[in-house]
């Protein structure tokens, strides 16, 4: 009887959740915490942004195409949200700790939106984050330099810190606007 009631409650909860444009995790789990250096100084912790919707991506400042596109999309979405944009926090975690210092990330992200926060750290710290989120990051040599092939989706974390969805690369700013509004309305 208790199991039936529990299942019934889970189904009801799932039915009450808004429809998102992003891919949706069901049931949602707590977003794994970060322990990284923040581009804003100090430590970067998701818990600091509880009460906001967090849009979290993974990339690097030398990325030629995917990261600038994603960050420009997120900046545009935040702008279109108007006053609700204040309730959104974009977090961008580097996949290239060798080049992406906290200062470099602050300068780079600030070019898109001064509220964006970057996260960097030791390779082992970042490897844990990648594992927790299922992110792929693979260094590929190019001549004397290198690039990094990496996952390009953006994770949606709700105001309670639950990992609710994942938006694939290439979606429009209005898709983010839709989903952020849906999550803020809960």
């Amino acid at each position: 009887m208790t199991v039936v009631a529990l299942l019934s409650a889970m189904v009801t909860l799932a039915a009450d959740r808004p429809t998102l444009k992003a891919g949706v995790f069901e049931p949602p789990r707590a977003a794994p915490e970060l322990s990284l250096d923040s581009s804003g100084g100090g430590k970067l912790s998701l818990a600091d942004y509880r009460g906001k919707v967090i849009l979290m991506g993974f990339g690097f400042t030398s990325c030629p195409e995917v990261c600038p596109t994603t960050l420009a999309t997120l900046a545009q979405a935040r702008k279109r949200l108007g006053a609700q944009g204040e309730q959104v926090q974009v977090v961008y975690v580097t996949v290239d700790p060798e080049r992406d210092t906290a200062d470099r990330m602050r300068a780079y992200l600030g070019g898109f939106d001064s509220s964006f926060v970057g996260g960097t750290g030791a390779p082992a710290q970042l490897a844990t984050v990648f594992k927790n989120y299922g992110v792929m990051a693979e260094r590929k040599p190019i001549g004397n330099s290198y690039t990094v092939a990496h996952s390009s989706s953006v994770y949606l974390i709700d105001q309670k810190g639950l990992l609710r969805g994942m938006m694939p690369y290439g979606r429009l700013p209005d898709d983010y606007v839709h989903d952020v509004r849906a999550l803020l309305s809960e």
């Binding site: 789990r29 299922g134 390009s152 994942m166 694939p168």
Partner: protein, 149 residues
């Protein structure tokens, strides 16, 4: 029966099938989800050396017919499934609204990539013919839209 008559019957039959494939309405589906499931015991099978490949490297979806990718992990350990890391008992439901080719990083495949091709809704007779031909090819060919594990 003469050979010419047989050929005539075959030609009429072929014309009838092609006409049906082009003009008949598409079948109603209860759901637009295209599910892929990691069954319980997959991890153990992999550990014992079985090559378990559940998610094909290329998935073909069609808007308005099966335009929602549904990944479910029924195993007892976390699994990276296409673009998503899924905990035991967790699912990932990804709707598509635009016809396009989508590339995802996927550690489950040796290439590190997974492709999802989303075709437009086959509204025209030619579109329905092509869609049915792809379905047929999928049934007898590489089954690119169905689980192969």
């Amino acid at each position: 029966m003469s050979r010419r008559r047989w050929l005539s019957i075959l030609a009429i039959g072929f014309f009838g099938v092609v006409s049906w494939a082009a003009l008949a309405p598409l079948p109603d589906r209860e759901s637009r989800e295209q599910p892929f499931v990691i069954p319980e015991g997959t991890w153990q099978r992999r550990m014992s050396g079985d090559l378990v490949d559940i998610l094909p490297q290329q998935i073909r979806l069609t808007l308005g017919i099966n335009d929602v990718l549904l990944l479910e992990n029924q195993d007892t350990v976390p699994q990276t499934f296409g673009p998503a890391l899924l905990m035991p008992g967790q699912s990932f439901r990804l709707p598509f609204e635009l016809a396009s080719e989508y590339q995802f990083a996927c550690t489950a495949h040796s290439s590190g990539q997974m492709t999802i091709i989303v075709d437009p809704f086959p509204a025209s007779p030619w579109g329905r013919l092509r869609w049915r031909a792809l379905q047929l090819a999928g049934t007898f060919g590489n089954k690119s839209h169905e689980p192969n594990g």
